[in-house]
Symmetry: C2
Amino acid sequence: MSGLRARQKADRHRRIIEAAAELFRDAGYEGAKIETIAAQAEVSVGTIYNYYQNKGDILGAIVSMEVNEVLNAGQGVVANPPANVGDALDTLLGIYIEHSLHYLSKEMWRQAMAISTQLPDSAFGQAYTALDRALTEQIRALIARLQAIGLVRRDIDGQALGELVFNNMNMMFIEFVKRDKARIAELRAAIRRQNRILVAAIGV
Amino acid sequence: MSGLRARQKADRHRRIIEAAAELFRDAGYEGAKIETIAAQAEVSVGTIYNYYQNKGDILGAIVSMEVNEVLNAGQGVVANPPANVGDALDTLLGIYIEHSLHYLSKEMWRQAMAISTQLPDSAFGQAYTALDRALTEQIRALIARLQAIGLVRRDIDGQALGELVFNNMNMMFIEFVKRDKARIAELRAAIRRQNRILVAAIGV
DNA sequence: TTCTAAAATTGAGTCAATTCTGTTTTTATG
DNA sequence: CATAAAAACAGAATTGACTCAATTTTAGAA
């Protein structure tokens, strides 16, 4: 079953994603018509719906690539964190934030977030929630690491703290993508300021 | 200019909101067709669009009523908070959460949140952001009150703390409305657990 | 009362996502 | 090779939010 059909399938998947990514960037998510994506990918409209359940799922595939890359980059920090709680958190969250606009425009993020809330049970909705959980888990792992090193008090509830840090960052990120004018540097500074309260509380 | 025309206008507004609220609840947001809302409100489709810019704005009007009610209820807690930081936060956030499903179903919340992210510059998007800010401000006011009473350390950055608490609650609430099965009691317990870290850090 | 400009209403028409159904291509089998 | 079943494709048809030009209603002046 890995003959012609499978190859064509993979190729069509790729063509659709590439066409969509380009059009989403150029014309925006709403501006990119399925018909246009289909034309550019050289498939029919029906075929796109054979590959993806809806327009959102196409965007979802692009978002997944982005977040997985970020998760990968984050592993390095968890394995070898800066020797200071504040910097450790700032470095990990900094990686998330700095990577975030690499493939996705703010408008694409807005759409992706909206869809994941609107249709939490859709393929993309579930994938997005899983990605959020993976990020939370990575922050929790960093905290556990800092506890092991002795930089964070052992009696701190690492799970709760990880959720708190992720939730705050994520909410700040949502507000960030909602305002086209907002700058990355401001976002990071605001999050650092908020985390300072936590850092003071959990340091040994 | 407060004659017949103004009265009819107010009456049509009310009829549209009432019809929409009922249909959103019964058929869901997507399931409620503008045509049906118009029929039930005894106006034409065009008239609805004369009163509201789009379907989301109709939902927006309902959400605003809900949140304003919650803000009102919260004032009492800020004016007269429980004599204990953990309880004070829990009481205020508890009011928000317990009221939240009074007029709005989870599905309606999901749609409202999605629209506010998707179209942050629309009438509703801006109103929603303002409501979020008002809630954050109320939490900040509670913290300031607790500082004044002497329950919270004066050197704590009240603004940053307020944002942290609100962002975390809001994110948890988003996850809550995304899962139809999630119970209010569980949500409150999870938030209490997260806030415990903060409470330990900021108490005198 | 009658008339007129402004305001509001109407519903048929437009547009784009999604669905549906008949056709074509691929694979597996004899 | 021939062929039948399965998988995938195509694009016309449907659906529902939203627009707009024509019509109706209202407020106030004469």
